[in-house]
């Protein structure tokens, strides 16, 4: 354990670990030392000079090494001639800190006065006004009266886009470098910098496109003035008009804790709407950060295209859609029709649902399926969720805390296998990077270069298709095998880079076996994590939904299909085959998707922002989300719709309270045993202390008062016998001569509905592309930037060629959700696109 030292801050004695900075010790003692440049998540730089305090240290006798005592027997203190910065000085035994002395207060006042000489004082039109550290500290420490002539103020540009997402007001900037340091230290994307010097010093973007980082929004939270604002919230509302409600981000399996800020406003026809998404502290999940997709891609629920009334097609009309368009119907009529169809189908009912739905929704869907003996299918192309229930990371796992014995942590190894975390689960990228910087051995195995490679101890490249073999070798042989086997703690994150269902299932099994064989299961910071495509895929697996290899066959073989939270026809995962009779289809969704257009019954569901529920993250943490805005009139939560259909079928399922559904689930499913909503809402003190009134210390991140969530135990941790399946044999696809092996990869900004409804992020999506090795491109006679026709699986599309020298030849990387459907490795060809005929 770290040595503890006792010091006195403003007369209050406190004992803290050796090496802690005075500013943090003061915070623990309940004294807020004012800061601008200091941030508890970054290295101190001592440049703003706001945290000036008096520090006295006991005078030591050089010969004895003991403190010199005064006549009263108290240690004699030596105060330096200068004020010292509380943010750069570590605590020491017997130290006395005065933050409120005349001298200290004069120092703090002088810094505020200096800062204000250059500040425009435009609080009335500033987005930060009301939650601004400079404003607060001016009220607390400022001189109250200006000695600086207002008309001698330096005037600078007030709306400088650093990129499409973040704007800089150069006048307001106080050059604290928090944003620059955040990008350098926390993210490892040094895309911001300073230009010029002295009073002319200014923040600039060094990247093309501007501020090229998926974490850019966080800089606006930690900016201590209104210099950095998001294009989304800029001039959007005053902070004091905003209500806040706790939620969970649904963009990826990390499960970042967020806060929705809402306001009722005239410009939205008097509705209560979400004005911004802010991170909410959960040090074991997202700390105080969120990615830009989570921050900006929330507009989908506000869309005017939302469904608000059930629609039905008369019986038998589905065969001839054109003649029998669907019509508006009452909930009762729609549910009756659905129930009837499901009862008729019995075991030939297929329920297809995605990880976009909450645990409660999925539980009710599964219960309905089981009642008739139907089939519950997870809409996903990634397997292995059954294994994470057995050997998933244990209760108490905290990726960011992993490290090495040298850095005061436990020797740990993290393997990232077939995943580009920066694109697939950005906050896990931050967490894994942090673990590596804490000394954890990071092994990144991927067929191409990813951003995480820079922080890895070992980078492993393998050919697409060799995933299983790679895991089996790297966890057992050589230096890498030693690092994995001998580590006290080991975690494997596996993704679906280049993989479909069959191969990802095989990969997951190989990873699970490697962990189990080396005893890295059933303990905190040990086990398997799936980098799932959707937020609640893990929850769906826990509840009993599994993906199927041949979705089309399952669909074609069904008598009735109940689809919730998925658009397989829009995604190209399902096709209507001519001539065959189509199963009876019930679809519940937010939008009239391609799938909904084909349905016999369409039921309008509520967005997760309009109701409460829980999600299970990739780390198997169950977390609550709360209602943020009133539900769109005419919609209902998915679990309630399912319950009402069930009632039509004579089955009673809870349909009014999400928390009761959860309790029923907890009684039924050993993974969730013992959990309930109050338990999920519990919080513990977290460090650093953020939020509250002193926004200057940790930024405008919200303090977590609504629940840190609870990690599920797994079979290994419960002491149950772990029996893992054999690794299924997968035959790698070997493309024919003159053909390419096309493999799917995931991009954060894709053409999914959440990004395409975000005007801001849509600008970052870019064009559909195929990435080739330069040699492959040469072989096929295409060049970078050229338009080509990419054909796979019977479909083709015009895409742009990009080069990636880190992949093997003969491979074509095709991004998921960017136009051309791709569910797994497939044969493909490219040829130069025909130029449009000149008129």
């Amino acid at each position: 354990m770290t040595k503890q030292v006792t010091l006195t801050i403003d007369g209050k004695q406190i004992t803290v670990p050796e090496g802690m900075l005075v500013v943090n010790a003061a915070k623990l003692a309940g004294t807020d030392v004012p800061v601008f440049c200091y941030h508890p998540k970054m290295e101190p730089v001592g440049m703003c000079r706001m945290c000036l305090v008096e520090i006295g240290r006991p005078m030591m006798d050089r010969t004895t090494g003991k403190p010199i005592l005064d006549e009263k027997g108290e240690p004699k203190l030596q105060f330096g001639p200068k004020l010292e910065t509380a943010c750069t000085n570590p605590v020491s035994e017997g130290m006395v800190v005065l933050t409120q002395s005349e001298k200290a207060k004069a120092g703090q006042k002088s810094t505020v006065e200096f800062l204000l000489t250059s500040h425009p004082l435009d609080c009335p039109i500033c987005d930060k006004g009301g939650e601004c550290p400079l404003q607060n500290l001016t009220m607390a420490h400022g001189p109250g009266k200006s000695r600086f002539l207002y008309d001698e103020k330096m005037h600078l540009a007030k709306n400088v886009p650093l990129g499409e997402l973040i704007y800089l007001d150069r006048e307001r900037c106080i050059q604290c470098a928090r944003c620059v340091r955040f990008q350098d230290e926390v993210v490892g994307d040094p895309v911001l910098g300073f230009d010029e010097r002295g009073r002319s010093m200014q923040i600039v973007s060094l990247s093309e496109p501007g501020f090229n980082s998926v974490f850019s929004g966080n800089t606006t939270d930690i900016c201590p003035v209104g210099a950095l604002t998001t294009a989304d919230f800029r001039f959007g509302a005053r902070p004091w008009e905003l209500q806040s409600s706790a939620s969970i981000c649904t963009q990826c399996p990390v499960g970042c804790n967020i806060t929705f800020n809402t306001r009722r406003e005239a410009m939205s026809d008097g509705k209560i709407v979400i004005k911004r998404v802010m991170p909410r502290q959960n040090e074991e999940v997202n700390e105080i950060w969120i990615c830009d997709k989570g921050r900006f891609a929330y507009h989908f629920a506000e869309s005017k295209e939302r469904l608000s009334r059930p629609h039905i097609r008369r019986k038998g009309a589905a065969e001839n859609r054109a003649e029998h368009p669907s019509q508006r119907a009452s909930w009762e009529a729609a549910e009756e029709l659905a129930g009837e169809g499901f009862l008729k189908a019995r075991k030939n009912l297929v329920v297809l649902a995605s990880g976009r739905l909450s645990n409660e929704d999925l539980f009710n869907l599964k219960a309905l399926t089981d009642q008739v003996g139907g089939k519950a299918v997870l809409y996903s192309d990634m397997g292995g969720g059954n294994l994470t229930s057995i050997v998933g990371v244990g209760l108490g796992t905290n990726l960011g805390e992993m490290g090495s014995a040298q850095k005061g942590k436990i020797a740990s190894t993290i393997v990232v296998m077939a995943s580009d975390l920066y694109e697939e689960a950005p906050v896990w990228y931050l967490r894994v990077k942090q673990a590596a910087e804490n000394g954890a051995t990071l092994i990144v195995a991927n067929p191409r270069e990813t951003k995480l490679d820079r922080f890895a101890s070992f980078v492993v490249r393998y050919a697409y298709g060799d995933e299983v073999k790679t895991v089996q070798v790297l966890t057992k042989k050589g230096k890498i095998g030693d690092a994995f086997m001998k580590a006290e703690n080991a975690v494997i994150l596996f993704g679906s880079e280049g993989l479909g269902l069959e191969a990802s299932t095989a990969l997951a099994t190989a990873c699970a076996r490697a962990l189990n064989d080396t005893g890295h299961v059933g303990k905190p910071n040990n086990g398997l994590i799936g980098v799932w495509p959707r937020a609640n895929d893990q929850g769906a697996w826990e509840i009993g939904f599994c993906p199927v290899e041949d979705l089309q066959a399952v669909f074609d073989g069904a008598d009735a299909v109940y689809i919730a939270g998925a658009d397989p026809f829009g995604d190209g995962a399902l096709k209507i085959k001519g001539g065959k009779s189509r199963p009876f289809m019930v679809v519940q969704d937010l939008f009239e998707t391609e799938t909904a257009k084909l349905a016999d019954v369409v039921l309008p569901a509520q967005a997760y922002t309009e109701r409460e529920g829980t999600f299970t993250s990739g780390e198997r943490r169950v977390q609550r989300f709360y209602q943020a805005v009133p539900a769109l009139e005419g919609t209902q939560p998915d679990f309630a719709i399912t319950s009402q259909i069930a009632r039509q079928m004579g089955v009673i399922l809870e349909g009014t309270s999400a928390s009761v559904v959860f309790e029923i689930m907890a009684a039924d499913n050993p993974s969730f045993a013992g959990l309930n909503y109050p338990r999920l809402a519990e919080v513990e003190p977290q460090w650093p202390i953020v939020g509250r009134g002193d926004v200057y210390y940790g930024g405008t991140t919200y303090e977590n008062r609504q629940g840190l969530g609870v990690q599920l135990t797994n079979a290994a941790q419960r002491g149950e016998k772990v029996s893992l399946p054999r690794v299924p044999k997968v035959t790698a696809l070997r493309p024919k001569e003159k053909k390419l092996l096309a493999v799917p990869v995931t991009k954060l900004y894709d053409r999914g509905v959440t990004v395409s409804t975000s005007v801001l992020l849509d600008q970052r999506v870019g064009e559909a592309f195929v990435a080739l090795h330069p040699n492959t491109a040469e072989q096929f006679g295409v060049a970078a930037g050229e338009q080509v026709t990419l054909s796979l699986d019977g479909a083709s599309e015009t895409v742009v060629v990009k080069m990636d020298g880190t992949i093997s030849t003969g491979v074509a990387l095709v991004p998921r959700s960017m136009g051309l459907p791709i569910r797994g490795p497939v044969e493909a060809s490219v040829k130069i696109a025909k130029k449009a005929a000149v008129r």
């Binding site: 440049m47 000036l52 200096f114 800062l115 000489t117 000695r147 002539l149 330096m154 010097r197 002295g198």
Partner: protein
């Protein structure tokens, strides 16, 4: 007395290797490498009493002994950024006696176990950098630099590095940042470079003049060195004399030479025979000393000048006569520091900008007494709060100028509120 540093003034073509060798060149380095242990070199320099010539006057040998021997590699960096207005000594050394300087770099590197040494030159010294590069190449050719020196396993490579002309890069930690390819901005100290320096490794940073002393100390011994100067300030110093003197120049003199000897004996006195009004002994960073007979007879060593309420610093003696008003002088220094402030810390970035605004008002049509008071207040408010010495330096001339020469700051006018809207005139208060 024979020159110790400006030996080129009596030995023609000393910059040529064969001339330098003929005059004992590289014997000292050879002696150190072949006959002395590194710590013996450090001890010798300690006992010579050599103190840093860049301005801080820290004992050189003591600085070397702080280097952390648990962390390797070590680096030596020669500070050739010479940017202080009024300082022009390092330039003369490097242009005319470069080999003695390079030998000094080599000796220091040997003493602290550095296998790489960097010479950081201000951007304007690009010609000197090219000249030093030539000399370094010659020395490598001749076997005085490179691998396996003098048949031992000692090796050393010296590299020049050009800055882009920022004054702040003369501050040692800003210089290290600049060499690393980052913005030239000072780091928080501690940790000091001896523990966490270039690329995070233990580093010794010495001034050009300091290093140029080393070959002579190693060759002739510390007792010889201490025969010059005073007990507190051993050896010789190059005084860069400028201002209103007849013969501004570099003068290599033993410490303890009086201001009068320097200004009247060597500098030929003040132009037009006018009296000395004020002395800035350390360039633009200096405090003003009121020049009277007692001051003129004060020996120039670190302690004696400190007793006058100033620092000898790099000994860039600027002489001001009675034709010059001190408020004009500080308008120059304040402008300089505003221009050179790196912007990293608030008091310096904002304070120099604010002071420069006030000084402009004082130079304008409506100089007001209230502005003088405000200027003094702002300068005092900056003191002891800045991240690095630059901000502190910027206040020296302002505070001592106003305090010691109040007659030059008698301003009759009222605050210029004419340009302000009526409702703001009342609001503007220059009260201190």
């Amino acid at each position: 007395m024979a020159y110790v540093l400006l030996r080129h003034r009596e030995i023609p073509e000393l910059h040529k290797l064969e001339v330098y060798k003929r005059n004992g060149g590289f014997e000292a380095f050879k002696k150190a490498v072949t006959q002395m242990k590194p710590n013996e070199v450090t001890d010798l320099v300690k006992s010579s009493g050599l103190r840093g010539r860049g301005g801080a006057a820290f004992p050189t040998g003591v600085k070397w002994s702080f280097i952390d021997n648990k962390i390797w590699p070590h680096y030596v960096v020669a500070n050739a950024d010479e940017s202080e207005p009024g300082t022009f000594k390092d330039r003369e050394i490097m242009e005319n006696n470069p080999l003695q300087f390079l030998e000094g770099v080599a000796i220091a590197s040997y003493a602290v176990g550095a296998k790489s040494a960097y010479i950081y030159l201000r951007g304007e010294f690009w010609k000197i950098a090219a000249f030093l590069d030539e000399k370094i190449a010659e020395l490598e050719e001749a076997g005085y630099l490179g691998e396996g020196l003098f048949g031992t396993d000692t090796s050393l490579h010296i590299y020049t590095h050009l800055g882009a002309g920022a004054y702040i890069c003369g501050e040692e930690t800003a210089m290290l940042e600049s060499i690393e390819g980052k913005r030239g901005q000072p780091r928080i100290r501690p940790p000091f470079p001896a523990v966490h320096g270039l690329y995070g490794k233990p580093t010794v940073v010495n001034n050009v003049e300091t290093l140029t002393n080393l070959p002579m100390i190693v060759a002739n011994g510390s007792d010889w060195y201490k025969t010059m100067g005073t007990p507190d300030s051993a050896g010789v110093k190059i005084f860069s004399l400028s201002g209103r003197v007849r013969k501004p120049d570099n003068y290599e003199l033993p410490f303890g030479t009086t201001f009068r000897q320097l200004i009247y004996g060597y500098g030929g006195g003040v132009q037009e025979g006018r009296p000395v009004k004020a002395i800035m002994p350390a360039g633009a960073s200096s405090s003003f000393i009121i020049a009277d007979d007692r001051v003129l007879d004060t020996p120039m060593d670190y302690a004696s000048v400190r007793a006058l309420g100033a620092d000898l610093g790099s000994a860039s003696v600027i002489v001001i006569d009675d034709t010059v008003s001190i408020d004009w002088v500080i308008s120059k220094t304040v402008h300089f520091f505003k221009h050179e402030s790196c912007g990293k810390c608030t008091p310096c970035r904002e304070g120099t900008y604010w002071m420069s605004n006030i000084v402009e008002r004082l130079e304008g049509a409506h100089p007001a007494q209230a502005d003088v008071d405000l200027l003094l207040s702002v300068a005092r408010q900056m003191q002891n709060k800045c991240l690095c010495p630059l901000g502190e330096f910027s206040t020296m001339a302002v505070v001592t100028g106003i305090e010691r020469f109040p007659q030059d700051f008698q301003k009759a006018g009222e605050p210029d509120t004419a340009r302000l809207p009526d409702d703001l005139k009342q609001a503007v208060s220059h009260s201190v």
